[in-house]
């Protein structure tokens, strides 16, 4: 970068004596002079010498100063090359034309030497500032690239590439504060997250990293979405300044139970599109965004919805509803809702993007649109998730027994499944079966808790109304619970080849007539619920009810036979 003196100044004038005078003035100021006799030569000299400032005559033969200015400015691109017109023209129209062609200033002949010198100084200061700005900007782009690379490593892509998920997110979305995440739970359930941090740039991006880390870590270990949300809220609350928070939604698709659990805090209503009826069910935001409430005041309320294969859940940030057209009008909810009318569920995603883009065409920031959708499918379509099997000692503990008794306080507030699963996968042979084991213990545990301790009737879940009622009752009875317990008794023993895991659960409930239930087990179940036991039987080698039906033992042997 040149300093204010010692600049390269191009003087373009067809009048030789004018050129000489200019040259003398400029040289006296300590600058170097390059001369051109017409516009064409000025462009050539620009290319060859890259001057710092150009003094340009407007009227010249071969190519006039206006045309030369246009060419030079387009070649300079982002770099600032100040061009000062020195002209005998006097009328306002001609002078304005000099500026319109790209000139930065003009002086009418005969010009004052003092003013010319002052202008050269002023423009050279401007060049220095411009160069500093450019350098800062370059530095910022570089920093953003590094930050984005780090973020991509932390957030990786999770399982957003699954065939039943579609999403739209600008590549630099992290810098407008939008985040989309997806991960499988060990039982195969699919958990989706869409978040929108307040603000723009690095302040908006910074919270996304701990958020992604907590999300992936906890979901893969089998924590419930309430637990993940609590942890995310408390972390964001402690690290972010007051005015930065995250509007978000988190949903879990249970592929076995064909249901959806949803939490919405500060993003527009989620739409649950039912393929069969082509109806939409809106799931409203009923919570404050993440990072606003103190940890002890944050109580995520999750709603449950039945879902059939082919039904789709849609999550979005306010970018869609607030997409503006050239008149400054919002795309708005009525337009969005109308798109769902009679549209095939598969085509909805593309239609929404297409229509929003068309609406806001000519406005030019349609890449702010963040949209995420997932369809309910059978678990076979996705397969079971594979988790890292490369940790822990070889072999692990092979001969052990443990038991865990949960009283009413624990049943209310604690999810024992991640802890138990983490213990089980210490046995190396069980590690690659964490998905099946998680499903097994979670089905047995929810039976013991819901049908045993809380005495809920699974037949209720057969209808959509009953489904909601069931989960309302579950919540009410659980929060009113004063007595009762569930006991886990786990044991593992080595066998000639592999090992044998026994899982026994006993609850304080009244039990049930399992002999009778066995006889009617041939009837295929068409209910939303009631699938649990058939699934559990498929997953283990032996399943046996004992006592009055309040105790169940499942045996799981490894290595698993290929046929299974």
């Amino acid at each position: 970068m040149n300093s204010v003196t010692d600049l390269k100044i191009l003087v373009a004038d067809d009048n030789r004596s004018d050129r000489m005078i200019l040259k003398a003035i400029v040289r006296r100021e300590g600058h170097q002079v390059i001369e051109a006799e017409n516009g064409h030569e000025a462009v050539t000299m620009y290319d060859q010498f890259q001057p710092d400032i150009i003094l340009m005559d407007a009227l010249m033969p071969v190519m006039n100063g206006l045309e030369a200015t246009r060419l030079i400015k387009s070649r300079a691109g982002g770099e600032l090359i100040p061009i000062i017109f020195l002209t005998s023209l006097q009328d306002a129209h001609s002078l304005a034309e000099c500026l319109e062609s790209g000139g930065d200033d003009f002086m009418s002949k005969p010009y004052s030497q003092v003013i010319l010198k002052a202008k050269i100084k002023a423009f050279s200061r401007m060049r220095v500032m411009h160069a500093q700005l450019e350098a800062h900007n370059k530095q910022m782009v570089l920093e953003q690239q590094v930050a984005k690379a780090v973020f991509d490593n932390v957030a990786h892509s999770g399982c957003l590439d699954l065939p039943n998920i579609r999403y739209s997110l600008s590549p630099m979305a992290v810098f407008n504060g939008d985040t989309v995440l997806a991960e499988r739970k060990p039982d195969g359930s699919l958990v989706l997250f869409l978040g929108d941090f307040t603000g723009h740039g690095l302040p908006a991006a910074i919270g996304a990293m701990p958020l992604a880390e907590i999300f992936y870590g906890m979901v893969a270990k089998g924590f419930s979405i309430e637990e993940v949300l609590r942890e995310v809220n408390s972390r964001l609350y402690s690290i972010l300044p007051t005015e930065v928070f995250c509007c978000a939604a988190m949903v879990e698709l249970n592929l076995y139970g064909k249901s959806l659990r949803a939490w919405v805090g500060g993003v527009p209503d989620l739409y649950l599109h039912q393929q069969q009826s082509s109806q939409i069910q809106k799931i409203r935001s009923d919570s404050l965004p993440l990072g606003v409430l103190e940890p002890h005041a944050f109580n995520p309320r999750v709603t449950e919805w039945p879902m059939a294969n082919g039904d789709r859940i849609f999550l979005w940030s306010d970018g869609i509803v607030e997409a503006e057209n050239t008149e400054g009008e919002f795309f708005g909810e009525p337009r969005l809702e109308a798109l769902f009318n009679g549209t095939d569920s598969e085509a909805l995603f593309d239609l929404i993007l297409f229509e929003v883009e068309r609406f806001s065409s000519g406005v030019g920031h349609s890449d702010d649109i963040t949209l995420l959708t997932a369809a309910m499918v059978d678990i076979e379509t996705l397969g079971m998730p594979r988790f890292d099997a490369s940790r822990g000692a070889i072999g692990g503990p092979l001969d052990w027994r443990m038991s865990l008794e949960l009283g009413p306080q624990s049943l209310k507030a604690f999810n024992p499944l991640p802890m138990i699963l983490n213990t089980l996968v210490e046995v190396e042979g069980l590690r690659s079966h964490s998905g099946e084991l998680y499903t097994l213990i979670s089905e047995l545990y929810s039976n013991a808790l819901e049908h045993g301790v809380l005495r809920l009737d699974s037949k209720q879940k057969a209808s959509a109304d009953g489904f909601a009622r069931y989960y309302n009752q579950r919540e009410q009875r659980l929060s009113a619970l004063e007595s009762g317990q569930v006991t886990f008794r786990l044991g593992h023993s080595p066998e000639a080849e592999g090992g044998r895991l026994t899982i026994e659960l006993e609850d304080s409930g009244p039990g049930f007539d399992y002999a009778k239930a066995n006889r009617s087990a041939d009837t295929p179940s068409v209910h939303y619920g009631g699938r649990g036991m058939a699934l559990v039987e498929k997953l283990c080698d032996q399943l046996q009810y004992e006592g009055k039906g309040n105790r169940v033992t499942a045996v799981f042997r490894w290595p698993r036979l290929e046929s299974r």
């Binding site: 929108d196 603000g199 007051t242 930065v244 928070f245 009923d286 919002f330």
Partner: protein, 101 residues
Amino acid sequence: MSVSAIAGDKNNEMTIRITGRFDFSSHQEFRQIYENASPDIKHYVIDMSETTYLDSSALGMLLLLRDHAGGDNADIRIRHCNEDVKKILTISNFGQLFKIE
């Protein structure tokens, strides 16, 4: 966009009126108004009758004011919101933190 302060009926009350879009560009102005106000002010009214729109940065500013006004003990009423503004406050459930009238 402009932010202006009006003394309330009682001398420990202050009304902040926001005209036009309430977004990041009002940050400085909004903050200065409540930070320069007399320490006796205990009650705040945000008058949104002239507010056309607010974005998430504006929600953040409201949280800053809430902190300044005593956090959980803050007395802040948000008045005369138009439908768009009310919708944004409803979606983000700010009714749990502010009195929206």
